[in-house]
Symmetry: C2
Subunit: 398 residues, 2 copies
């Protein structure tokens, strides 16, 4: 077979995802797109803020083509990184400079360059279930081993006891994601402090750095005034990966950055290695026009109110119908307990009512389903009778 | 050390490049930027054509934000791929469909997803010196081994005898680059036919496919009416990697595509694997706005005349001064024979006259230097007295 051995399992898995996608398309063709309630995707429904369009016009009118569309340092435009650093410092009381930032092709590339810079074959990377399944592929790209901590279904804060037990001499990094996909949980300051303490202890015990990688594309999507702690302030060996995919609704543009603070061990070498990784994995640099747009949109934000209305509408309805679900504080997902142990059966049953959801198994957390509420309010409203019938069918209603 | 073992040699090598870059900055500070003749970079000097700006405006005015900036298939927008396929078919008499194309984050990502999809550890990838040094890093990303065919300094067409000898049972792919960086050579139809014949013979001999990867970001930058053969027409197992970095002067935007023809062995699996690779190496998809721009700029092209004038100006002058150099037919580089065996000494000497060039050793071809003429005409004119003095110094003038 022509395809490499490492890629073959991914090929097989992909067929399953494709089957789900094809099923959605088939249902839309049969019943009409407006009668299919597709809660399976994380594609933002709220448009990019007007500032983005205005920034593009301003840039094209005032900056020369060679600057706007040209090569720059593999780390990104210095002035753009400077502006973002200043904005972070103002918001979080940090002390980053341009040199601490690398502009990346979205958060996914940010994670990849961090892992490429850090991992030797066999190195372990810990993450907490439920987790974004791509983490596994990213870690295996560099022959690392993903170690998964089992879910704490009580409140979906990380299971810190198991975490402490599973850190070994081979642990090189830990990936956290808050606000969290798929649960919508925000890791509390207390959680972060405890994690940092455990990691510091283990660093001493094993005599080498353990890097905390914070994947935070949902940072700006929070509700009820909840605060998302900035992790470099709690643990020195932290790399932050950020993306504008959700905060500015630009997921297709692939624009984000990573932060490597000076406090990090061998910081300048890690920065250099990640910058080179950005080049050699083939990104070369983050898209240039979008870099320049970001520098002009530092205070812009999508309309989070809309997501909040969707959240409350769907959460209240599902609770009323008898479903079990924690109230999400961030992101745009509800993680709902399946009324039957095999949540795939529940997902299948929901299709009767034209409702599409992602089984929790896809996040290493069976028994739950992910419902993305980054859809129109109409989609939610029109789906509710279906959810109610499902609740009745499973005897959830009081 | 925190940085992975695989990245460490890249870190060391990077310091050398950085040193060169710093030297250029130092010279610009001392002598004034206009008095430093920097021929070391491949950053296009000709602006993007007006059609690009117009396309961006049209798109922002007529297409919804969710489409323009949103997620699409990991292979890219279907309508965009369809348009590019139709344009290729019209130009080259091919029969591609949307499914044969994957939009990529520039040509560098295109090469990476091809190599990730194909290579098992230890697989060999052949390329021809002089070659773009990043190929080595791309191949090593997937634990492949780059096998380099020594340069044919006669005319810089590939050394096909050595090529045939070095194909082994482990050869999985061959990378060619035409129009060629750093020599400006265009591989002739005769060369391509001979290569194809050799590769077909070796495929039979070893009983497995050998993939030809054509890296062709310079396709549109050709002079004197030379034709660049379209390789899928000569050899079935061909993957074409293309980029708009040079044809539309958009190198910072990271927009390109790969073509995998139906004629390729296990074509649909290779396409699926490369699409997944696009996702898991972290690109996810090529930047969305730029994809949509490309579909509206299929017949646009930078002002190649400007590069041609630069080419003739510099080539004629250097020949007149006594330098040895083949006349480039494409791209925007001259590859000039160093008057002394160690071309690094020559590069050092040229700095006296504020001339910056890249040593051929950086392309596995010592004894030569690369001069990028994608600079302003003034830079070339003002550099000529320096080149004349160098020629005199080395006794080249008649």
């Amino acid at each position: 077979m022509l395809v490499s051995e490492k890629m073959r399992p991914l090929l097989e898995n992909n067929s399953a995802i494709r089957a789900m996608f094809e099923e959605g398309k088939r249902m839309a063709a049969v019943y009409g797109a407006e009668n299919v309630y597709d809660f399976s995707l994380g594609n933002p429904s709220v448009p990019a803020p007007e500032e983005v369009k205005k920034a593009i016009y301003d840039i094209l009118e005032t900056e020369p083509s060679g600057l706007v569309h040209g090569y720059m340092s593999n780390a990104g435009f210095e002035d753009v990184r400077e502006s973002i650093a200043a904005s972070l410092n103002k918001r979080f009381g940090t002390a980053f400079q341009a040199k601490n930032l690398i502009m990346t092709v979205g958060a996914a590339s940010g994670l990849n360059i961090a892992l490429k810079a850090l991992l030797n074959p066999g190195d372990e990377v810990i993450t907490f279930a439920p987790y974004f399944v791509e983490y596994g592929a990213y870690v295996r790209n560099y022959d690392g081993v993903l170690v998964v901590i089992s879910p704490n279904t009580e409140d979906f804060q990380p299971n810190l006891q198991e975490f402490e037990e599973k850190i070994t001499a081979k642990t090189k990094a830990v990936i956290v994601n808050s606000p969290h996909n798929p649960t919508g949980v925000v890791y509390s300051e207390e959680t972060i402090q405890k994690m940092a303490k455990i990691m510091e202890k283990k660093q001493k015990e094993f005599g080498h750095a353990i890097v905390l990688i914070s994947d935070e594309p949902y940072r700006e999507l929070v509700y009820d005034g909840v605060e998302v702690p900035y992790l470099t302030k709690y643990y020195a060996n932290t790399i932050v990966g950020y993306s504008y995919s959700k905060s500015l609704s630009l997921p297709g543009e692939r624009i984000g950055y990573v932060v490597i603070p000076d406090e990090m061990e061998e910081s300048s070498q890690v920065i250099a290695a990640m910058t080179i990784a950005n080049r050699v994995i083939g990104c070369v640099n983050a898209p240039s026009l979008m870099q320049r747009v970001i520098a002009r949109c530092l205070d812009a934000k999508v309309d989070v109110e809309t997501y909040d209305r969707n959240r409350m509408l769907l959460y209240s309805a599902l609770k009323e119908y008898g479903f079990t679900c924690i109230k999400p504080q961030g992101a745009f997902y509800l993680f709902v307990k399946s009324p039957v142990a095999d949540e795939k059966v529940f997902c299948q049953e929901a299709k009767k009512y034209h409702i599409l959801m992602v089984p929790g198994s896809s996040f290493a957390c069976p028994g739950y389903v992910r419902i993305s509420y980054c859809v129109s309010e109409d989609t939610i409203r029109n789906s509710l009778p279906g959810f109610r019938k499902l609740a009745e069918e499973y005897g959830l209603t009081n």
